[in-house]
Amino acid sequence: MQANILTTEQIRALIAKGKLKDAVFKAVGIFCLAIALLVIVLLVSDMVMKGSERFTVDFFMNFASRRATQAGILSAWVGSLLVMLVTALAAVPLGVAAGVYLEEYAKRNWITELIEINITNLAAVPSIVYGLLALGIFVYQFGFGQSILSAGLTLALLILPIIIVSTREAIRAIPAMIREGSMAVGATRWQTCRYHIIPYAMPGILTGVIIGLARAIGETAPIITIGALTFIAFLPPVPYTTGTDGVTAGMFDWVMSPFTVMPIQIFNWTSRPDPAFEVNAAAAGFVLMAMVLSMNAVAIYLRYKMRKNIKW
């Protein structure tokens, strides 16, 4: 046999070669991870350095302007917050309800299967297609126009799969004995869900909601597609106040207001040839990154805590 011909030295050399290859691969792996980290560090540091001169109160309190030094992100961050509010109000109840249905109620039949396949496929649909859906349905068929409501609902549909999947995972981690105990003392299925399943799954659901909203707040393409304006120099009407036109705004008038959001403002500034706006784009980009990364960090921390704490 071949192996018998090898001397001890040759075998040692062979082992050394194998170990070297291992070490080389390990180095390549660490190198690739380092690139990922480097990109984050480069991005953040570049934005901080370029945008640092704009981190003033004025930048947050000024509207967009033709002059780069006077332009601010007031309408953008207010718009982003309001759109997120609509998104959360629509996506959280729908997503949690769908997750609870699929885990606790659904029978194993073709309808359930259809819904499940649908959710998996929707997660892979490009976000701009949601924009087209919203343009056709929300903006024109329902007549919501290019409003905060249209944008919020679009992003809600976009993040629905994320919330459903995380709700289902959280519910699946709850042992069967909790349900059995609850039903044994006479609780109905809904009472079991309402008082046991949903509260115990809450940290997991919350993680999914935060990740979903972090994704939604950075989405640009679907909101551009529904036709959000890039230059907005006013805020949506505050409920029960009288505007300059003498009309008192109703409770929900703000949802129908035109708006702009942070990512669109950044896009607008990035695509201008004047380098003075690059500074604005960097500063606004840093604000958006800070929002998204801190939301993600909270979600990661929550998940970490959960894994440590839960012992049934």
Binding site: K21, D22, F25, K26, V28, G29, L33, I35, A36, V39, I40, L42, L43, D46, P93, A97, A98, Y101, Y105, A106, I115, N118, A124, V125, P126, S127, I128, V129, Y130, G131, L132, L133, G136, I137, Y140, L160, R189, W190, R215, G218, T220, A221, I224, T225, T230, P263, I266, F267, T270, S271, E278, A281, A282, G285, L288, M289, L293, N296, A297, I300
Partner: protein, 315 residues
């Protein structure tokens, strides 16, 4: 015993019927709640129906003006000019070239990271590396677009002096970095699901970690890896903002990543930024483009399903 006898008592009867009616109420509300929950779950189906309906109905109107043959074979894309041409090939070429660049970066890098994390790294490294990847995956694409245009392009121009200010290359490279976390985390999950006994068998035969990873773990997890690559392709094909910012938006039938070009997605953004009247041919064009985009991703997803079935390993 006593209880059964006293059931004749009128007040007790009252209690029983009270309970029965409360039970009936409870059953009704249970039913209503179940129906509501089902309705919430059905929203996902409605969304799909909505997407198909919107894309198809607007595209049908579009194809009454433009023949499908022209759409697929014309080599010019000038939908907003007087001399309008609707050759979707032009946009598809931009989409495919940029996606290819992205995948050339993302598939090796993502796979290497996945192999490293699942086969080599200790739990300490993993606990640090996974959140970093997750943060990278969470960065908004518009920020990546900024990164591509204002940092990567100037850097590349130092190495390749002829590179224009907008190019598929720099957009594609950054898109690749953006996709790495998806491939890495899905592939790692797939490889961690490979049973330990297979690795132990390989180690017992004297193979090194790398040999085991490449010849035992990767083939065993192949269906999962394929699924992650397919998802990566869908991401790349559907990515919008990086391309809209960094690849320029002029239609250009090209296979050269060093050139600027429009993609299906960046064309939609460009049209949406303008002010096209509802029902015009330009408005319908973006739905035809969207339908093409969905068809391409659908094609890759079907391929992915097939691959997964073909290479599924059961343990």
């Amino acid at each position: 015993m006593n209880h059964a006898m006293s059931a004749n008592n009128t007040s007790d009867l009252h209690v029983v019927s009270d309970r029965l009616s409360r039970n009936a109420m409870r059953n009704i509300s249970e039913r209503v709640i179940e129906a509501l929950l089902f309705a919430a779950a059905a929203v996902s189906v409605l969304t799909t129906i909505g997407i198909v309906y919107v894309l198809v109905s607007e595209s049908v109107q579009f194809f009454q003006h433009v023949s499908i043959i022209d759409f697929l074979t014309d080599t010019q894309w000038t939908p907003l000019f007087d001399d309008a041409h609707f050759g979707i090939m032009v946009l598809i070429s931009g989409t495919l070239v940029s996606s290819l660049v992205a995948l050339i970066v993302a598939i090796p890098m993502g796979t290497i990271i996945a192999i490293y994390l699942s086969e080599f790294a200790g739990s300490k490294v993993r606990e640090v590396a996974k959140p970093i990847l997750e943060l990278l995956g969470g960065i908004p694409t518009i920020v990546f677009g900024y990164f591509a245009l204002l940092m990567v392009t100037p850097l590349l121009q130092k190495i390749l002096p002829g590179l224009p200010g907008f190019s598929l290359l720099s957009a594609g490279l950054v898109m690749g970095i953006m996709i790495v976390p998806y491939i890495a985390s899905l592939s790692e999950d797939a490889m961690r699901a490979v049973p330990m006994s297979l690795r132990e068998g390989s180690y017992a035969m004297g193979s090194t970690r790398l040999y085991t990873a490449i010849h035992v773990v990767v083939p065993a997890a192949f269906s999962g890896l394929a699924a992650s690559y397919i998802l990566a392709i869908s991401r790349a094909v559907g990515e919008t903002m990086i391309l809209a910012v960094a690849a320029g938006m002029q239609p250009n039938l090209t296979a050269n990543p060093m050139e600027p070009a429009a993609t299906i997605t960046s064309f939609i953004v460009q049209v949406a930024l303008g002010d096209l009247p509802h029902g015009s041919i330009g408005y319908q064009t973006i739905f035809a483009a969207g339908l093409t985009l969905i068809m391409i991703t659908l094609m890759f997803n079907i391929l992915g399903q097939w691959l997964r079935r073909r290479f599924r390993e059961n343990y």
